[in-house]
């Protein structure tokens, strides 16, 4: 078929291109620009090549923060995914309680990050916070401002409280889309509850669960507001995650070059993980039968 070629059509793409350029490409290129230069002030820059990247990748400070990020992301995934599935399985599938449960589940998701941080900051205080005060009354020495373990526990509990709902809602959507016939067939085949979960529910949920893991990983890997509000990265450096460190370096110390290099490495890690997930998801799609009605 002959196609009409009209290069004027490119003009129609121009506004979008301009928008993307201003919002994403130009800032990113600025960062790239900073990452390969150094300055002693006075707006005078000179070329340093890959030096900042080598520095960053060998700096203990960066590697520690990266380690904390990974530990945090894996911990909350290990809690939120099973917990979310469990809650979704326990939720009613029909009746009046469905909307009630769904609304209750959606509530934490509506609260802004810094508010969540503030809520827990107050909640955990030993003098006026309900949680902190109660724990003290029980004789437990809990103080997120001085004890690194307490700070970690608080941030993890906070994230679980804030975001498990997302996993619940996604899993629930996966669960209710399973046709009733699967459960009937499983009963007739004599399958136990566990086998129904293992061979029907879990396989049917795998797509939504992948999305849940991806979203929760990306989001938790970029965590900033909650630890910043709660402890500002302390006590010591114990809750200084990459994002907090980045801000300290770029705005606190004004080390633009290393900070730019660090943010690019940070960005590439997230890009890599997203790419892995995308590949896995598309390969799952490729498994689907090529003809006939699927399921």
């Amino acid at each position: 078929m002959d196609r009409t070629l009209n290069n004027k059509a490119w003009f129609l793409v121009l506004p979008v291109f301009a928008l993307v350029a201003i919002s994403a490409i130009i800032p990113l290129m600025t960062v790239v620009n900073y990452s390969v230069q150094d300055t002693f002030g006075n707006n005078q820059f000179f070329w340093v090549g890959a030096e900042w990247f080598v520095d960053i990748l060998h700096s203990e400070r960066f590697l520690n923060a990266l380690g904390r990020n990974l530990a945090f992301s894996f911990t909350i995934l290990a809690i939120e995914i099973p917990l979310g599935i469990f809650i979704a399985l326990s939720m009613p599938k029909k009746g009046l309680w469905v909307p009630v449960c769904l609304i209750l589940m959606a509530l934490p998701l509506l609260i802004p990050w810094n508010v969540v941080g503030t809520i827990w900051q107050v909640f955990g205080r030993a003098d006026i916070g309900l949680l902190g005060h109660s724990l003290h009354a029980l004789g437990i020495d809990y103080n997120y401002a001085t004890n690194a373990v307490d700070a970690w526990i608080t941030i993890i509990v906070m994230d679980v409280w804030h975001w498990t709902s997302l996993v619940v809602l996604l899993s629930y959507a996966g669960l209710v889309s399973i046709p009733e016939a699967y459960y009937q067939a499983a009963r007739i085949d004599g399958a136990s509850k566990w086998k129904v979960f293992r061979y029907i529910q879990l396989p049917k949920m795998n797509r939504v669960l992948l999305i849940a893991v991806l979203l929760r990983f990306m989001d938790s890997f970029m965590i900033y507001t909650e630890p910043f509000v709660l402890t500002g990265g302390g006590p010591g450096n114990s809750t200084t995650f990459l994002s907090i460190d980045l801000v300290k370096m770029a705005i606190g110390q004004f080390d633009l070059g290393p900070a730019a290099a660090m943010s690019l490495v940070y960005f590439l890690i997230i890009l890599l993980v997203s790419w892995v997930f995308f590949t896995v998801m598309t390969s799952l799609d490729a498994d689907a039968p090529e003809k006939g009605v699927q399921d």
């Binding site: 067939a185 007739i188 086998k195 396989p203 498994d287 039968p289």
Partner: protein, 357 residues
């Protein structure tokens, strides 16, 4: 394997049904033979799926009992009834291979390992799935998936009955025929009691020894395909079975004479004088159009060629009759209709009235 007794079964989805109309399944009282192939046939919403769910144990009937053999299973769960079911959409376990799918019901019932592998390989052979045995079931075509669902029932040698809930809905037309043939073959081989729900008369008539025709929650006739064709017990059966359906014409019947408008037709049997809604039923196959003097004068309004034969729509005193023209036949210049009196059925309030010879 067992005979199935439906003992005064009825079901309503309402907690306190008041009138007859509240019942999705009106009272049914029947014994189905061990090893029989039954088809439940009827339009959507006629109660056939309700009946099937009562048999499989997904529904407990509001009234009556259901027995497998001598055992009352009315209140037993599906897993306790020892039945198998094939659903409208193929149900397979995605993450398992074909062989694992077939082994699943046996593994759950703790059958010994060597027994499982023997039965599974036997079943794979029967279902012609040999080349796919160790493939993931997820990637198969719909008809192969349906075979697996069926196989999961057949591997359990002792199932009381195998139920089919419109199993060919998602199968490509050319595969439907093959799968149906396979089903018949398996039925002959294993002699399980099979119950097959469908709204497709071809499927029902080719599959079943006995067809149970349902209409508005009521079983209107149980019979062989021939009986359904020759003596429909209800005008609905007449319409529903056959293509085109039976002609049903309002008539006055008295003794051996039926009167349609001004036209009198002699009957083979004697009927008491009937009042109420009396109708005469005659299949289009048994009305012949001739150019001779004998017969009723008709006007042919349209002729439809449907391949093997033609349907001529004829008009007698304002009443429309479908008639079948044989292959190559044409409408005579002055058509007369000859109705085969032996094939006439008389209905009162939609139900068949038996005449006396």
């Amino acid at each position: 394997m067992a005979k199935i007794t439906l003992d005064k079964l009825a079901h309503s989805y309402l907690p306190r049904p008041k009138s007859d109309a509240d019942f999705a399944l009106k009272e049914i009282d029947h014994v189905w033979d061990d090893g029989g192939a039954y088809a439940l046939l009827g339009p959507s919403g006629c109660g056939k799926t309700t009946l099937l769910n009562i048999i499989s144990g997904l529904l407990v009937p509001s009234k009556g009992n259901i027995l497998f053999g001598e055992q009352d299973v009315t209140h037993l769960q599906p897993e306790q009834r020892n039945i198998a079911q094939v659903f409208q959409f193929p149900v397979i376990y995605d993450t398992m291979t074909v062989a694992e799918n077939l082994a699943f019901p046996l593994v759950n019932r703790r059958v010994p390992k060597d027994e499982i592998s023997r039965r599974v390989s036997e079943m794979i052979e029967i279902l012609d799935l040999g080349d796919k045995a160790h493939k993931k079931a997820k990637g198969l075509t719909a008809d192969d998936k349906q075979k697996i669902s069926l196989g999961r029932g057949l591997v359990r040698h002792d199932v009381n009955a195998i139920l089919f809930d419109e199993p060919l809905t998602v199968i490509d037309p050319h595969m439907k025929w093959q799968l149906r043939t396979k089903l018949k073959e398996l039925h002959r081989q294993f002699e399980h009691t099979m119950i097959y729900v469908t709204h497709d008369q071809t499927e029902a008539l080719t599959f079943a020894d006995k067809v149970v025709v349902m209409y508005e929650g009521e079983v209107v006739q149980i019979g062989t395909p021939e009986e359904l064709f020759d003596e429909p017990a209800h005008t609905f059966v007449g319409y529903f079975i056959g293509s085109p359906g039976m002609n049903v014409i309002p008539a006055d019947v008295n003794g051996r004479v039926a009167q349609i408008g001004n036209t009198k037709i002699n009957l083979q049997k004697a009927y008491p004088s009937l009042s109420g809604n009396v109708e005469l039923g005659i299949r289009p196959e048994f009305i012949k159009l001739t150019g001779d003097d004998a017969g009723l004068p008709v006007q042919v309004t349209s002729v439809e060629d449907i391949g093997r034969f033609k349907i001529a729509r004829a008009n007698i005193n304002g009443v429309t009759l479908d008639t079948v023209l044989p292959e190559g036949g044409s409408v005579p210049a002055h058509p007369k209709a000859i109705i085969d009196p032996e094939k006439i059925n008389i209905y009162k309030d939609s139900h068949l009235v038996k005449g006396e010879a």
